[in-house]
C-alpha cells in the first residue's frame, strides 16, 4: 500500500500513533473489500464450492497480523481470507486460487478453505474445525527445536472449543512452553447454533485449567487488538504460550447464501454499531485524520482488487495430470 497524505502523528495515551492506526484501517479495508468482491463473485457463480466471509471480524486478522513478524507462522480456519491477507499473501494469486485457477496459491486444488502460502508462514486455512491448533503447535515445536525465534499462531472460532484436539493442543503448548499463541475469534456462533448451547465452559476457564494466560479483548477494536496482540506475541516468543480471546461479530451468514432464519434483527443492528471499520474511522477522527483523507486509499484498494479479479478471470485452468502428480513428492 502506498503512503497516504501526511497525517499528524498524535497518539492517545496508551494508544497507537495515527500513522499506525491508519495502516491498520487500510488493512481492514482491504480485507473488507476483498470479501465483498468474493461475495459478488460467488453470487454470480464465478467462485465454485462455498465460501465463509469474515466481514465484521477484520480487526482480529489485521491486529494480530500487525503484531507478527514475517518469520512467524499462522494456521487459519474455514473463515480465513482475512488471516491470509493480513499475513501478506499475494492478492493476484489469492484471487486466482479462489477461482480455481492454475496459477492460484494452491494451483486451484484448495480454494477458499485451503488458502496457504508457506513462503510467508501462512500454514493454511483449514476445512476441519479445530485442526489448525495441532498444526500450529507442531510449527511451534519446530520453532523451539530449530531455535528460529518465531511464534506460531492458531486462529480458531468459538465453535472449535468443544473439539478434543483443541484441548490437547492447549495442554501440550502449556506443558512444553511452546512459542504458541491461540487466537479465538469468538463471534458467538458455530454454524447455525449459538455457542452457549454448545459449550459448558468458557475460554477463560479453559485457559486457566491449562495454566495459560488469557487475554480478553474487543475484537472489533483494531487498536485494542493490536496492542493486546503485541503483548501476547512477545510473551509467546519468550516461551510463555498465550490465549487471546477476541469478541467479534460474524456479520454475514455462516456461508454465503445462508438464509440465516436463526438470527434476529436486533442482533443485526447491534452488530452494525460495532463495525470495526467505523470504530477505526472514529478513532482516526479523534486523532485528527478525517474520513475524507482516507478516500484515496480506498480508491487504490478497489483498483488493486479489480486488477486481481481481471487476472484471475483470465487465468488458465489447472490440468489433471499436474494435479495427480502433486499427490506425492
Amino acid at each position: 500500500m502506498k503512503q497516504g497524505p501526511a497525517v499528524p502523528s498524535r497518539a492517545r495515551s496508551n494508544g497507537l500513533p495515527a500513522r499506525e492506526l491508519r495502516a491498520l484501517y487500510g488493512r481492514m479495508l482491504l480485507i473488507r473489500r476483498v470479501e465483498e468482491q468474493l461475495g459478488r463473485l460467488f453470487a454470480d457463480g464465478e467462485i465454485p464450492g462455498f465460501i465463509h466471509l469474515s466481514i465484521g471480524q477484520e480487526a482480529v486478522a489485521a491486529g494480530v497480523g500487525a503484531a507478527l513478524e514475517p518469520r512467524d507462522t499462522a494456521a487459519s480456519t474455514h473463515r480465513g481470507h482475512g488471516h491470509a491477507i493480513a499475513k501478506g499473501v499475494d492478492l493476484d494469486r489469492f484471487f486466482l486460487e479462489l477461482l480455481g485457477k492454475q496459477d492460484g496459491l494452491c494451483r486451484g486444488r484448495g480454494g477458499s478453505m485451503h488458502v496457504a502460502d508457506l513462503s510467508i508462514g501462512m500454514l493454511g486455512a483449514n476445512g476441519i474445525v479445530g485442526a489448525g491448533l495441532p498444526i500450529a503447535v507442531g510449527s511451534a515445536i519446530a520453532h523451539q527445536v530449530r531455535k528460529t525465534g518465531a511464534v506460531a499462531v492458531a486462529f480458531f472460532g468459538d465453535g472449535a472449543l468443544a473439539e478434543g484436539a483443541v484441548h490437547e493442543s492447549l495442554n501440550l503448548a502449556a506443558l512444553w512452553k511452546l512459542p504458541f499463541l491461540a487466537v479465538c475469534e469468538n463471534n458467538g456462533w458455530g454454524e447455525f447454533s449459538p455457542t452457549d448451547r454448545q459449550l459448558a465452559a468458557t475460554l477463560e476457564g479453559l485457559a486457566a485449567a491449562y495454566n495459560l494466560p488469557w487475554t480478553d479483548v474487543d475484537g472489533n477494536d483494531v487498536e485494542a487488538v493490536t496492542l493486546a496482540a503485541r503483548h501476547v506475541v512477545a510473551e509467546a516468543r519468550a516461551g510463555r504460550p498465550q490465549v487471546l480471546e477476541c469478541r467479534t461479530t460474524r456479520v454475514r451468514g455462516h456461508f454465503e447464501g445462508d438464509p440465516q432464519k436463526y438470527r434476529s434483527t436486533e442482533e443485526a443492528s447491534a452488530m452494525a454499531a460495532r463495525d470495526p471499520l467505523a470504530i477505526a474511522v472514529k478513532a482516526l477522527a479523534a486523532l485528527g485524520v478525517g474520513e475524507a483523507s482516507l478516500q484515496p486509499e480506498a480508491a487504490e484498494i478497489d483498483a488493486r482488487i479489480a486488477a486481481a479479479v481481471a487476472r484471475a478471470r483470465a487465468g488458465a485452468l489447472p490440468g489433471m495430470a499436474q494435479a495427480r502428480a502433486g499427490v506425492y513428492a
Partner: protein, 324 residues
C-alpha cells in the same frame, strides 16, 4: 554381519537417522525416559536429549497433528503410536492434514513425517490392542505404508521412510519385535516400494508382508514336502506396492495366493487380487485366493486368538486350492 533383534534394528535406524540429520525428532507416549512400551526407543533420550526425544501426553490427535505442523516447519518427526488401534484417535491429522497438505497447497510443502506403530495379534491383547488397520491408510492418497518382515528390512525401510518427503506409516508387527536376524555392517540402504523374493518357487506365488511372510514361508516348506514349489514375495511396502514384481512372479507361476494377518474382507489382498485379475488375467491358471483373518474383532482368549490369526495350514490349503 551381526545378529540383531527386530526391535533393536529399529532402534539403530532411529539412532543413525538422528545422528545423520539434526532435524529428526522423536515423539510418543513413554518413548523417552521409559524407553518405549516395547523398548524400541531405549537409550535414545540419553544420546540425543529431551529436545529431540520427547515423551508426550496421552493425546494422539495433537501428537500426530503437531507432527504435521513440525514436518511443514522443517523438522522430520518420527512419531510413535503405541498400538495401531490408537491411530483411530489421530485420523484427522493423518487423513485430512498429513495426506493432503502437499496436494491441497499446490505442491508448496512436503510432510516428511513417519508414524511408527505396532499391529497384530499374538499377545492376547484383545480387540483394541491387536488390529491390523494398514488397509485403511493404504486407501488414502498421499500416505505411504510400509511393513517390514525382518530386522534388516526394518532398518533399511525405516531409514528410507525417514528420508522420504511424504508421510509414511511404518507398521511393526508386535510378534516380530523379539525376532533375530542378520543386520549387515554397514547396514543396508533401500528405497520404498520394492518387493523382495523371500523364497523362490515355480508352482505358485504367495504374496505377503510383515509377520505373515513367516507364515507363508512355513506354508511353502510344507508344500515343498508335497513337491509343490511356492514362491514367497515379501511386499515390504504396501503403498506404493510393487505391482511389477508380483506380476513377474505370477507370469512364472500362474497361480496367486495373497496372505495377510489383517481381516480378509476389503483388505490389501483384495487390492492385489483385483489388480492381478486385471493386468495379470492372461497369466492366471487358477483362482486368486486370499488368506486373511475372519471378519470379526481380534478375540482375547488364547485358543480363540490362535485360531483367528491366519495359519500356515490355511495358506498351504489356499495354494492347493488354486492348483487344483
Amino acid at each position: 554381519m551381526a545378529e540383531t533383534r527386530f526391535a533393536r534394528a529399529i532402534n539403530q535406524a532411529l539412532a543413525d537417522a538422528m545422528a545423520a540429520d539434526a532435524s529428526v525428532i522423536l515423539l510418543g507416549e513413554d518413548i523417552a525416559a521409559p524407553g518405549g512400551p516395547f523398548s524400541v526407543t531405549r537409550g535414545l533420550l540419553d544420546k540425543f536429549g529431551a529436545d529431540r526425544v520427547r515423551d508426550t501426553p496421552i493425546a494422539e490427535a495433537v501428537i500426530v497433528g503437531a507432527s504435521v505442523g513440525a514436518a511443514m516447519g522443517g523438522l522430520k518427526p518420527v512419531v510413535e503410536i503405541m498400538f495401531m488401534d490408537f491411530v483411530t484417535l489421530a485420523m484427522d491429522a493423518l487423513v485430512n492434514q498429513a495426506a493432503k497438505a502437499r496436494f491441497m497447497f499446490g505442491d508448496q510443502t512436503t510432510v516428511p513425517m513417519v508414524l511408527r506403530t505396532p499391529h497384530g495379534g499374538g499377545l492376547n491383547a484383545g480387540p483394541q490392542h491387536s488390529q491390523c488397520l494398514e488397509a485403511w491408510l493404504a486407501h488414502v492418497p498421499g500416505l505411504k505404508v510400509v511393513c517390514p518382515s525382518n530386522p534388516a528390512d526394518a532398518y533399511a525401510l525405516l531409514r528410507a521412510a525417514i528420508d522420504d518427503p511424504n508421510p509414511v506409516i511404518f507398521v511393526e508387527n508386535k510378534a516380530l519385535y523379539a525376532m533375530k536376524g542378520e543386520l549387515p555392517d554397514p547396514p543396508p540402504s533401500d528405497r520404498l516400494g520394492v518387493a523382495r523374493t523371500a523364497r523362490p518357487g515355480r508352482d505358485a506365488t504367495i504374496v505377503s508382508y510383515g509377520a505373515a511372510v513367516h507364515t507363508a514361508l512355513k506354508a511353502a516348506e510344507a508344500l515343498a514336502r508335497e513337491s509343490v514349489e511356492a514362491e514367497v514375495i515379501d511386499l515390504r511396502s504396501l503403498q506404493p506396492w510393487d505391482e511389477a514384481a508380483v506380476l513377474a512372479s505370477l507370469a512364472r507361476t500362474h497361480r496367486l495366493v495373497v496372505a495377510h494377518e489383517a481381516v480378509e474382507a476389503f483388505g490389501v489382498g483384495a487390492e492385489i487380487a483385483a489388480r492381478m485379475a486385471d493386468v495379470g488375467f492372461d497369466e492366471l491358471d487358477g483362482p486368486i485366493v486370499r488368506v486373511g483373518a475372519p471378519f470379526m474383532p481380534v478375540p482375547f482368549g488364547k485358543t480363540l486368538e490362535a485360531e483367528y490369526v491366519p495359519s500356515a495350514d490355511a495358506v498351504a490349503a489356499a495354494v492347493r486350492r488354486t492348483l487344483a
